[in-house]
């Protein structure tokens, strides 16, 4: 029976997301043009292509962010069910955090965090 709430929740969120996009998709005028699709550079023609070799630091930062973002996402359900998870739940969460802390320290020592 209580699955109805989950269905309602999923339905509402889908409605808001798809409804917003769909409504504006139907109603908003859509006139793509050559200049309109050109990349915006403060009113100037962009110089040179964007397909270049750039610094690897961007990728490293992106990766680290992804890892710790997902970690935060996992912590949310644990925090909700914190009270009835009892002591075992707490220890498991700490172990999970510890593993990620080790990863962070490793990245720190390998100076992946310093921006070159």
């Amino acid at each position: 029976m209580d699955y109805f709430l989950v269905l309602l929740f999923v339905g509402l969120s889908a409605f808001f997301v798809l409804g917003g996009l769909g409504f504006s998709y139907l109603i908003a005028p859509h006139k793509p043009g050559r200049i309109k699709n050109a990349p915006y550079e403060c009113g100037e023609q962009p110089i040179g292509g964007a397909w270049i070799q750039f610094n690897v630091g961007y990728y490293l930062f992106g990766l680290l962010f992804l890892v710790f973002d997902v970690e935060a996402a996992f912590l949310y359900p644990w925090a909700v069910a914190f009270r009835d998870a009892g002591l075992t739940g707490l220890v498991e969460a700490l172990i999970f955090l510890l593993v990620l802390i080790v990863g962070l320290v490793y990245a720190w020592k390998k100076s992946a965090l310093e921006w070159v």
Partner: protein, 387 residues
């Protein structure tokens, strides 16, 4: 005799790094005419390697209206309204400069009342300009609230101008031979009220922004301009004084009644963005000191020495005058052929034009965020660069 005229496209060719090599390639980005950091329309072509700026090539000219060509067909009174459209944040000082140079050349003596009112108005305008700069610096570095504080003060000082001059931005108030109108009846009382209000405000500015650790982190030791380099690059005003050179025309060549007011020249030590920032905050305090000493005894007398429509003819010759505006030394070179009241040639030495090129010397090596801090600490007004 090698004269080679190049074009902007020679600069704009994208640098090609070796495709296969491991090192990163550089690329060109336009911080173009429409950009929040360009207070106006200034285009900076940045050669970037990842985040670090390799080279900055400013390309001004997007607001070049040819004011110097227009001055060759207007007489001296009509030129005044063009001057406050160049550096609109120190409009009164621009007017004062042309009036002062024309009066000295034509031999018109101006009575002390006019001199005192001119000095008062110039210092109020300097306060208003620094207050706006402070708000916009906060906004450039990401903090939006200083912008609201800054403009609150700007409106209060603007109200003073509006009562006497009637304009908020383009003043056209100081004419060769005196002033456009006399000051408002209770001008002195209102100025004292505003000063009493502004003193605690400056303390509030320090606690709000100056003491903020993020701002100090963004400004300290960034874009260090040593004195030799600053003088070589022709910087003047708070940019030069921030590097430690005490070059302030109000002290060296006292014009108006600056010699009657006792104030000191604010000089920085290291010449980084923080010094240029704090020099302007201190200058605001000095301006308040000057106004306080002058506002009580404004001498009596007519506010206009020559008839308004009188033709002012300058004897033949070349005259150079300059004045200390909020951004540096604004100079004017008037060449008169002695026959008519229209100048033969007029050239403005704009402070922003010379301070702009410090960016090319300061920016390489820093990251884009530091470039924003450097550009904002130089306090540029673009129409003054392009004239």
């Amino acid at each position: 005799m090698t004269v080679r005229v190049r074009t902007l496209d020679d600069i704009c060719k994208p640098p090609v790094g070796a495709e296969s090599s491991l090192d990163t390639q550089e690329y060109l980005v336009n911080m173009g005419p429409q950009h929040p950091i360009a207070h106006g329309s200034l285009r900076l072509i940045l050669r970037l390697d990842g985040e670090t700026v390799k080279e900055v090539t400013p390309a001004p000219g997007y607001v070049h209206r040819g004011i110097e060509k227009m001055c060759e067909s207007l007489n001296y009174r009509q030129i005044i309204h063009l001057t406050d459209r160049m550096d609109y944040l120190s409009a009164l000082m621009n007017n004062w400069l042309v009036s002062k140079t024309v009066e000295k050349a034509a031999g018109i003596a101006v009575n002390p009342r006019i001199e005192t009112i001119r000095t008062l108005m110039a210092e109020l305008q300097r306060l208003q300009s620094h207050v706006l700069w402070w708000g916009v610096l906060g906004m450039d570095l990401g903090a939006f609230t200083p912008f609201l504080y800054g403009f609150r003060e700007r409106e209060i000082i603007g109200a003073l101008f509006e009562e006497t001059i009637g304009a908020r931005l383009t003043m056209n108030y100081i004419q060769p031979g005196g002033l456009m109108y006399d000051i408002h009846a209770d001008f002195a009382r209102k100025v004292k009220e505003v000063l009493a209000y502004l003193k605690p405000i400056l303390v509030e500015y320090d606690t709000l922004l100056s003491g903020n650790v993020i701002l100090q982190e963004r400004l300290r030791n960034i874009g260090i301009l040593d004195p030799k380099k600053a003088v070589a690059l022709g910087c003047t005003g708070p940019v030069l004084r921030g590097s430690g050179v005490p070059y302030d025309l109000r002290k060296l060549e006292p014009y108006g009644v600056y010699d009657q007011a006792e104030f000191d020249v604010v000089v920085g030590t290291r010449g980084d963005c923080w010094d240029r920032y704090y020099v302007r905050i201190e200058e605001m305090r000095q301006s308040i000191r000057i106004i306080e000493q002058l506002v009580d005894n404004i001498p009596e007398g007519p506010y206009m020495v020559t008839k308004f429509a009188a033709k002012i003819k300058l004897p033949e010759g070349i005259y150079y005058g300059h004045i200390e505006t909020a951004r540096g030394v604004l100079g004017v070179t008037i060449v008169s052929d002695g026959k008519s009241d229209i100048p033969y040639r007029m050239h403005f030495r704009s402070p922003n034009f010379n301070n702009l090129w410090a960016v090319t010397a300061l920016a390489p090596g820093w990251r884009i965020a530091d470039l924003i801090a450097i550009q904002s600490s130089l306090d540029l007004v673009i129409p003054d660069i392009d004239r």
